[in-house]
């Protein structure tokens, strides 16, 4: 007999009794503290259910409240009783009623036997603790906390504020350095009795009575004064979420708990029948001297916290609706917007799809309907291509679209003929790659069979829209990677510009570009622009085109669309 337990109990008494019985019948004495808030009737029933075991004793009941001294007081009482009543106990394990042993007690005993002078108590200095709640770490020790955080939050906060303003700083007891850690420790008789029998205990207690959450500080700080060998970790597997409350284990954690090789886990849901049945059954096999390895469980809970605090990038849903700027990325994955390319090249979309392996759509914001790749009516996620539905919430259309196609690069066309409401969203999205050949829309007009006066009006309208669009893309708020060429600039060296764009899109294009899409006929375009000017409209977005037909603009030979460099 070398191991004894302290058990603090306040709910789910039947489960606590089950666990206590498990330990007691395996020759581990237990001192149980039952919270004063448990009704007298329940307490009596609880005590009676364990009355047949003479190595279980109950200590004086106190009213315990989270974050207050009462918990330490209860632990002290129980520890004193344990040390006095069971002199053969060498290690004292502090547990709660919702703890569950995962490995046979013999394993734990052997483990401790091999480390007879080691104190297992998580104990870290306040500077190194990232997990404190409420922004209080070193102030836990330097301020006073007479008000309950749970019941009198207002007074609690005000009193902290006042003390901060008055620069209150309490003096630590002699030699003590503030340490924090889990209250589920396992200490040796030597260390624990040194703490409890210290002649200065009165001073220590007085100091810690006004510390905040002393159950995470009292033994952790004082153990450092007396222990010869502190192993700063808890033998109890206990995970805390981002609000500082413990994660709960359920039946479906069985395998994880099995594989963790930890000795004790907390906190178990009282109705997790399968866990209790499995781990309390007598026929648990020993795992020899395996070291506890809670990493797998850690990962599950770290992911949970990550999901709660950061969420999934690009997702808007019923329980994730970030304010502007808090999205952690507005959309789910990188995408490219091409403006003017399908006016300049006749087979741009299939060419781009071939070159990049990306999914290339037409004009998603076409006023008639969203032009999905392959002429689909709907798309991934059953997203409707209907213009009315799309324009009802153009942002949601794009975020939905990118969310459900994540994993595959999406490209789509855009132009001044499209619905413009999405511009700001795309411009401020750092997933967007926007490539613009400004003024290329004029080519479509140039090739159209319309009256010149209609063309002129149309050109003026489109130019106005595109200028506004470009202003947004050039604004200081823009986060997208934007490239803007005038039509004339682009034509100077199309191969080079394509290479830059494709390099950025993906690995498929790391070979040198050998093939460009077919360009529309540009003969007479300079003249066309001059005609627009003559009619009183000033085309500015296309760049400078000479009027003469024999210009020096290179146009690929229509018979040979393949260029080899």
């Amino acid at each position: 007999m070398s191991l004894g337990f302290i058990m603090l109990v306040h709910t789910a008494l039947d489960r606590a009794a089950q666990v206590a019985r498990h330990w007691a019948t395996r020759d581990c004495p237990i001192v149980i503290h039952v919270d004063q808030r448990v009704s007298r009737r329940d307490n009596r029933k609880f005590a009676e259910s364990l009355a047949d075991l003479d190595n279980i004793v109950f200590c004086r009941r106190r009213r315990c409240e989270w974050g207050t001294w009462s918990l330490v007081g209860a632990t002290q009482d129980a520890a004193e009783m344990l040390l006095e009543n069971f002199p053969e106990v060498r290690h004292i394990y502090n547990a709660s009623g919702s703890c569950l042993p995962l490995r046979p007690v013999e394993d734990l005993k052997d483990y401790l036997q091999q480390r007879p002078r080691t104190d297992f108590i998580e104990s870290v200095t306040t500077e190194e603790v990232p997990w404190t709640v409420g922004g209080l770490d070193s102030e836990r020790f330097s301020l006073r906390f007479p008000f309950s955080w749970k019941r009198h939050r207002f007074l609690f906060d005000r009193y902290v504020e006042i003390q901060r303003r008055l620069k209150v700083k309490r003096k630590m007891p002699e030699n003590a350095v503030p340490h924090l850690g889990s209250q589920w420790w396992c200490l040796t008789r030597q260390t624990l009795s040194a703490i409890l029998e210290d002649p200065k205990r009165k001073q220590h207690d007085r100091f810690f009575k006004r510390v905040w959450i002393p159950d995470e500080a009292y033994f952790q700080t004082l153990a450092r004064l007396y222990s010869t060998d502190v192993e700063s970790r808890s033998l109890t597997l206990s995970k805390f979420d981002f609000q500082g409350k413990p994660h709960i284990f359920y039946d479906d954690h069985l395998q994880l708990l099995h594989r963790s090789d930890c000795f004790v886990a907390r906190k178990i849901w009282p109705n997790a029948n399968r866990l209790y049945d499995t781990f309390l059954s007598g026929d648990r096999t020993s795992m020899a001297s395996a070291e506890p390895s809670p990493e797998k469980i850690d990962r599950v809970f770290t992911q949970a916290i990550e999901r709660r605090t950061r969420g999934r990038t690009g997702l808007t849903m019923q329980s994730r609706f970030p304010r502007d700027g808090w999205e952690n990325g507005k959309t789910g994955s990188p995408y490219s917007v091409f403006e003017g390319f399908n006016c300049l090249f006749t087979d741009f979309e299939p060419w781009l799809a071939r070159r990049t392996g990306a999914r290339v759509h037409g004009n998603l914001y076409d006023p008639r309907r969203a032009m999905f790749a392959g002429g689909e009516k709907n798309y991934y996620g059953s997203l409707s291509g209907n213009a009315m539905l799309r324009d009802y919430d153009p942002k949601a259309f794009l975020t939905n679209f990118l969310w459900s196609t994540r994993g595959e690069r999406q490209c789509f066309q855009f132009g001044p003929n499209d619905k413009q409401a999405i511009t700001w969203f795309v411009a401020t999205d750092n997933n967007a790659q926007v490539n613009v050949i400004s003024g290329a829309w004029a080519l479509t007009l140039f090739h159209s069979n319309k009256n010149f006066s209609t063309i002129r009006k149309e050109a003026a309208r489109l130019q106005k829209i595109e200028m506004k669009h470009l202003d947004i893309l050039r604004s200081p708020y823009t986060k997208a990677r934007v490239r803007i060429w005038t039509l004339a600039d682009f034509l100077e060296d199309p191969m080079h510009h394509f290479q830059v764009i494709l390099d950025e899109i993906g690995p498929r294009s790391n070979r040198r570009l050998t093939e460009v899409p077919t360009m529309v006929d540009l003969k007479g375009f300079g003249r066309f622009l001059q005609n627009l000017k003559n009619q009183g409209m000033k085309p500015v977005l296309m760049g400078d085109f000479p009027v003469t037909p024999n210009s020096d603009i290179q146009k690929p030979d229509p018979q040979k669309p393949y260029l080899v460099r």
């Binding site: 039946d251 849901w269 109705n271 949970a304 709660r308 605090t309 329980s319 609706f321 009802y392």
Partner: protein, 336 residues
């Protein structure tokens, strides 16, 4: 929130409470088993009309989740629904022949019954064609969730309405009594939803899905709301302000995170589109007892005449809650 709006909302809440109190007279108690309700029991509240065929599975589904008692208002059914419910030991039944519409689509009745019987209980307010799915629902009973919510000081839990539909014509999706309707209509839209925030009451307004796609493409702003907050730790001062879409006091509508994180949430699988639907929309249109002049049912009726197929090749087939989680329709939040 200014004192003014705060006071305005308070008045609004009081108004709905008084209204619920007045509407109590329209309810006639048929069976009262509420004495059997124990302090920690989870309760289901529901209003229905002519749902006899769906009832056996509905009750079984929620009993299996761990619901201990059903409080149901029967709005003058004539297909034996009431008779069936009267035989159930865990159902308390009220009956009303008054106008569903004037009881604000049953909300007033349920508000009253919740005030009386729901206080300090976790209450789940669902229709007979709505099936609550939450994270880990295949391995953890409902009280695991409510215990966790209690421990996390969360009072209300969101579950978006997810419209389920069959492949092929609705009329061919024949539903038999006792069957799981999700087997008949297992398809849904996975990412076709829009979200807006109601500034005054703070709830999200979700629209979209197959109903918007099929029936409201030309007037999307009128597409029905899909946001729901069905699971609430009830207090007698709470009221549902409009169906289960929003609650007062408005803090209960804060079921979403605004700083980039995800709160835990579930889904209500909505098995509306079965063979019963055409008949029902016919009847409902004649009764004129639905929201906003039954414009919703008018839209259904006109489209349904053409025997449409809601299914498209991008529809997802329902497997389990994990699938919904991965698709981003619901979230585990920090429940692990």
């Amino acid at each position: 929130m200014s004192i003014r709006t705060s006071y305005k909302l308070r008045l609004m809440r009081k108004r709905w409470r008084i209204r619920a109190f007045r509407k109590r007279r329209e309810l006639k108690q048929i069976v009262n088993n509420t004495a059997k309700i124990k302090p920690d029991d989870i309760l289901v509240f529901s209003t229905l009309r002519n749902e006899r065929r769906r009832l056996p599975f509905f009750l079984k589904y929620y009993r299996d989740l761990g619901v201990k008692h059903f409080i149901i208002v029967d709005n003058n059914s004539n297909d034996g629904s009431a008779e069936y419910l009267m035989e159930q030991p865990d159902v308390s039944l009220w009956w009303s022949k008054a106008s569903y519409k004037r009881a604000r689509f049953g909300v007033d009745w349920l508000n009253w019954l919740q005030m009386r019987h729901g206080h300090n209980h976790w209450t789940l307010t669902v229709d007979v064609d709505e099936f609550f799915v939450y994270p880990f629902c295949d391995t953890r009973p409902l009280n695991a969730l409510t215990d966790w919510l209690d421990a996390s000081s969360i009072r209300s839990f969101s579950a978006m309405l997810l419209d389920m539909y069959p492949k092929g014509s609705i009329d061919d999706a024949v539903y038999h009594e006792g069957q799981n309707p999700i087997e008949v209509a297992p398809w849904f839209d996975s990412a076709n939803y829009s979200f807006k925030k109601n500034k005054e009451i703070g709830n999200l307004w979700i629209q979209g899905g197959p109903r918007a796609r099929m029936f409201f493409a030309d007037k999307p702003e009128r597409a029905p709301a899909l946001n729901k907050i069905p699971l609430v730790k009830w207090n007698r001062n709470y009221v549902y302000a409009s169906s289960t879409h929003m609650l007062l006091p408005r803090g209960l509508n804060q079921v979403y995170d605004e700083w980039g994180g995800e709160k835990a949430s579930g889904c209500l699988l909505h098995a509306k589109f079965l063979d019963t639907f055409t008949e029902k929309s016919h009847e409902e249109l004649a009764r004129k007892q639905h929201y906003a002049n039954s414009h919703e049912y008018k839209a259904y009726y006109t489209t349904l005449k053409e025997k449409p197929d809601i299914w498209c090749k991008w529809s997802e087939k329902y497997i389990n809650w994990r699938q919904l989680e991965i698709l981003g329709l619901m979230s585990k939040g920090n429940w692990a």
